[in-house]
Every structure is written in C-alpha cells, then in structure tokens.
Amino acid sequence: MLRFFIKGLIRDRQRSLLPIIVVTLGVMLTVLGHTWITGILGDVIDFNARFSTGHVKVMTSEYFENIDQMPNDLALLESEAFIAELQEKYPDMTWVERISFGGLIDAPDEEGETRAQGPAAGMALDLLSPESQEAERLNLQNILIKGTLPTSPDEVILSDEFASRLEVEPDDQVTLITTTMYGAMSITNFTVCGTIKFGVGALDRGGIIADISGIRYALDMEDATGEILGYFPGGEYPDEKAITLTENFNNKYADEEDRFSPVMVPLRDQNSLTGMIDIIGYMSGIIISIFMIAMAIVLWNAGLLGGLRRYGEMGLRLAIGEHKGHIYRSLLSESVVIGIVGSVIGTLIGLLFASLMSKGIDFSDMMEGSTMMMPGVYRTQITLESYYIGFFPGVLATVFGTALAGIGIYKRQTANLFKELQA
C-alpha cells in the first residue's frame, strides 16, 4: 500500500511538489533559526562565563551587592587557603582567582611627564603559573595583535585601540594609577608586552589584561582576590548543576550577619543573563510552536487546493464504493510520506547552511558603541537537537494540514456523486 502511495506521489508531482517545498522551506528555516539562536545565546553565555562570570562565582556578599563598582576593598581575604579548600571540596571543578579593577593608564614622555592618559578597565588573572589555563580560556593568544602575552608580573597587555590612542607600542612603559584595596592612591609602572583586540566595544575602548601577581602588588591585595570563578568540566554551562552547587555552598558559607562572608552566585544570576538562559530553555518550544502553526495553515491551504484539483478523483473513488474513512486515511498516509521527505530535505539543507555559518559573522563594527559584554562575532551552533527539531513538527504539520483539508471528504453526498461527475 505504501509503495502505491509513493508511486502516486512521484508520478503525480502536482500532488506532492508544493507540499514538499513548503515543508522543506519550513523545516530548513526552523533548523537554521534554531542553530543561529542557539549559537548567539550560547556565544554570549560562553563569553560571559570565560571573561566575567565563570559558571559560578564566589565573592563576599557586599562585593556582590556593589559589583559594578569593582569594590576591591570588599575582596575575599586569605584567598590562597580558601581556593585550596574549594579545590578539595569540589575537585571536579576548576577554580581561578580574578581581580577586576579600574584606573587611569598614563603614558609618559621622555622627561617622565604625562604625554597621554586614558581611563582603563582591567582584569587580572593567573597568566604565569605553568598549570594555568586562563590564557587559553580567554583565547588571548589568538586575539593578540602585537607583541606577546605577559611573561612577568610587571607586564600588561592593552587593547589595541587603547594602545593606539595612547600611542604606545610593545616594550613601552605605562603607569597604572588606581586605588589600593585600602583606598589609597596607587601608582605602578608596567611594561606593555602586547596588544589585543577583544572584539567587544566596552573592552576595546580601555581594556588591560595583567597577571594577578602584578596587580596584587599594585592594589596592595596580598593573599586577597576580588572574585573566585568556578568552571564545571567540559566547558558547557550546566544551569541546574550550578544552581544546586550554589545552594549547597551558600547553606554552608553564607552568613547574613557578616557582610564579608563568601557567597556563590551562578552564571544565570550575573550580568542580567537570567532571561537569556530561560529563553534558551523555552526556545525549542517557541520555534516548534511557531513552525507548527504557520506550516499547518499553509499546508491546510495546500491540501484544500489539492482537494479541489483531486475533486473528481475523490468523487470517483467514493462512487465505486471506497469508504470515506479509507480515502481520508490514504490522504493522511500520503501526507506522512510528504512530511518525512520534506523534513529530511529541509533538515539537511538547514544543517548545510548552519555549518556554512558556523565560522561566524562579524558584527563588531556595528557594536562599537556597545557597553555590554557581548562578543562581536556570532555563529550558528549545531547541537543534537538541531537534527530533529524540524523533523517531527514538519511531519505533524503536514498531517495536521491534510487532516483539516480532508474533512471536506465527509461532506460529499454519495447520492449526488454521479450528478457531480456528469457535470
């Protein structure tokens, strides 16, 4: 019977071509849309995790409340012992120390007088320990424009745009003017060892990266750190695991009476990422729903048009004694075949386009004025879900559209069939 339907569909292309094209287009757009949105949101989350939030972040409770001010006076003290404790308690995770700081970068002339000056936002991380993976985590080697990564505590990398504005080159000396952990003014010399392009407007305007030991000295933060970032193995952000870990940690360590007690915050509760993570969770449902409704309407119409074209055929089949239910089921069977064929072709084409776009499209020029921590290059991301997200809705929409269109069969009066056929 199935062979009969397939032969019918192949031989009568008018019966199958339009629905297959519609399903193919719909499924292709669904797959492409899903991979694009997954890619964008995934990139934003991954970028934030690497640069700023970790999968979870530990800091003092008051630091968290004032985090936008980079309040290093509220830093975690005795951080070396604390991080060792975290590593012992949560051995699967990677824990790293980070210090965010602000200040002025002052470029001197030959006399040591200020030649150029600009506001800077910096990040200090472990770049010198042999076991540290921080440089890889931030992809620093690949975004290096000039020079090298720091090899000593008194070296810094500036954003290329910032270095150009200050007219400094690798090996030039600059002075960081900032505030120590105790609120005193700090003036420290650093040698520029390289320049990088972050691809993020906010960082490219005045970003500095330095080894944490050099910044600890500058900020008088011996054995202290602003933040401890935790990463789960595998690199992907596991939302539920992060929430569970956070609850366990805060039950043990957080103390409402002590404003310097450590608190853990998952990625979703930082940098306004909650909505974005929730969207990822709902996205498949949203895309499928939109697709199902739109496709069902289009295919319903296609089915009605097909029904009109095959009006005579249906009438003849009824006239020679075929049951209405049998005809209806045969139409549904045809639609299953059409749905499967359209969905397979649509999924393949969608995945092809998605893989072509997986290298990314550079939007950094459009984001020059952005102050958000957003990557400049967006790419599609093919996940396991991408392989089936369009398939089932494609088949179901076809069947649903045909089912609606086929209801007309039951409205035909057998007594009038010959009159209709004669006409």
């Binding site: 002052d106 001197p108 505030t179 952990m181 105790y182 609120g183 003014m185 003036i187 420290t188 010399n189």
Partner: protein
C-alpha cells in the same frame, strides 16, 4: 512681672552685642589655625572597613598656598611625596619614579585611603571669600559652650554648599564641623580633640575626619610635633624636590 519683662528687654541688646558676627568668628578661627609657615610631623590612623592602618608624614607649609609632604611610614608609602603649589597638586611615587599631577576627578580620590580627599587638601581655608557666615545659635560640645555658625556658599566652585561649624566660645576653635552637599546630604564630619596651647594659640592634637559616605570608622589625624612660623627650606617648595 512687668519688672522681669523690663529686665529681659534691657538684657537682650547686651546679649546680642556679646555675640560676634559670623565673619568675626571666622577671623578668630584663622588666628588659631593659620600661620605664615608651619612644620608638622603627624600620624594618620585610618580605621578602614577591614583593617586599621597608620601612616606617618612630615609636612612643611607656607600659608595656605604651598605645602610639601613626605610620607615616612609604612614601608609601602615611605618616600611618597606630595607638593601643593596654589591650585596645583603633584604626587611623586618613588616606586615608579613618576610625578603625577592630581587633577580633575582624581582630586576626589581619598588621600592614602583616609577619609580626606585631595580636594579637601586643596580646599582654600579662607572661608570668608566663598561663604556667607551666620551665627544661628549656641550649643555645648564636650562641655564647651560653642557658637553654631552656618556658612552658605556664595561661589559655585566649592566642594560643599553648606558648612555647619560649632566654634568654641572661649578658644575660638571649630570643635565640630559638618559639611553638606547641595542636596542637603551630610558628606563629611570633623571633630577636634585634645586642644592644647601652642605658643599663644590654641591648637588640636587630634582631628577626627569621617567621610559619611564611607563605611569605615573614620580617620584620626594626630599631631605629633608642630612648629609655627619656622623657616621653610626654599628647595622643598618646587617640583624638583619631589624626585
């Protein structure tokens, strides 16, 4: 009853006459606090949110226009020098061998993490030029009778729109001062303690500054040694002295 009223009526002009004007009070304060030259060795005890730090310094000053400060301790700050020449302020950091001019928003930063800002250091103590002073009452501070003087800014370029000062009626020292923003928010509070006679003037041995917007326990400025109208080495009051 009539007699009492008459006595009160006769006394009031006498009371008013005994109350000096705001400007007179400011002049008497200047006589105590200002001098042609000065040499001070002092200690700043900064009660921060996490720790208490002590910073020692030596200052030479000429009037209110020129001042040279060298930090003596702790080791991290030792050798840091600061020079104020009228409306300009430089800081020299021995670790970097750089002299940085403090200007713009940097003036709002805290001096060595204390409750004092560089702007406070640059503030012209000649209050009469920028403020209209009015005596608004009389109160007691630490057992001493004080005039309450309110100073409203008459110039736009002042850090504090309103200063409220409690001035000792006998020694003419501002025992307490509150500094307010235009919005009426209390920004800083200063109190003077351990007042002693130095030569022919009264001078506090301890001044406590509190930045009301900071969470720490304030900064104690303790005068270890002070000399007035001494000869200030000329070479100290130039940028060359910083290096």
């Amino acid at each position: 009853m009539k007699i009492i009223n008459i006595i009160i009526a006769l006394m009031i002009p006498g009371v008013l006459a005994a109350q000096p004007s705001g400007d007179e009070i400011l002049d008497r304060i200047d006589e105590n606090m200002s001098s042609e030259t000065r040499h001070v060795i002092s200690k700043m005890v900064i009660h921060g949110t996490r720790a208490t730090r002590t910073i020692e310094s030596e200052t030479w000053s000429v009037g209110n226009e020129k001042a040279y400060t060298e930090y003596l301790a702790p080791a991290r700050e030792k050798g840091t020098k600061m020079l104020k020449l009228e409306d300009q302020l430089w800081i020299y950091s021995p670790g970097t061998d750089r002299t940085i001019r403090i200007s713009g928003h940097m003036l709002r930063q805290s001096v060595m993490g204390s409750d004092l800002s560089y702007e406070d250091m640059m503030d012209d103590p000649e209050l009469r030029d920028k403020y209209d002073a009015v005596v608004t009452g009389s109160e007691e501070i630490n057992g001493a009778g004080c005039w309450v003087v309110e100073m409203h800014a008459n110039a736009p370029d002042v850090a504090y729109q309103l200063r409220k000062v409690w001035v000792d009626k006998v020694r003419y020292l501002p025992l307490k001062e509150e500094l307010y923003a235009k919005s009426g928010t209390l920004l800083k509070k200063t109190e003077l303690f351990d007042i002693r006679k130095v030569g022919n003037r009264w001078y506090p041995r301890k001044i406590v500054f509190k930045d009301m917007l900071k969470k720490g326990g304030g900064t104690e400025f303790i005068v270890e040694e002070i000399e007035f109208n001494v000869e200030v080495p000329e070479h100290l009051l130039s940028k060359a002295a910083l290096r």
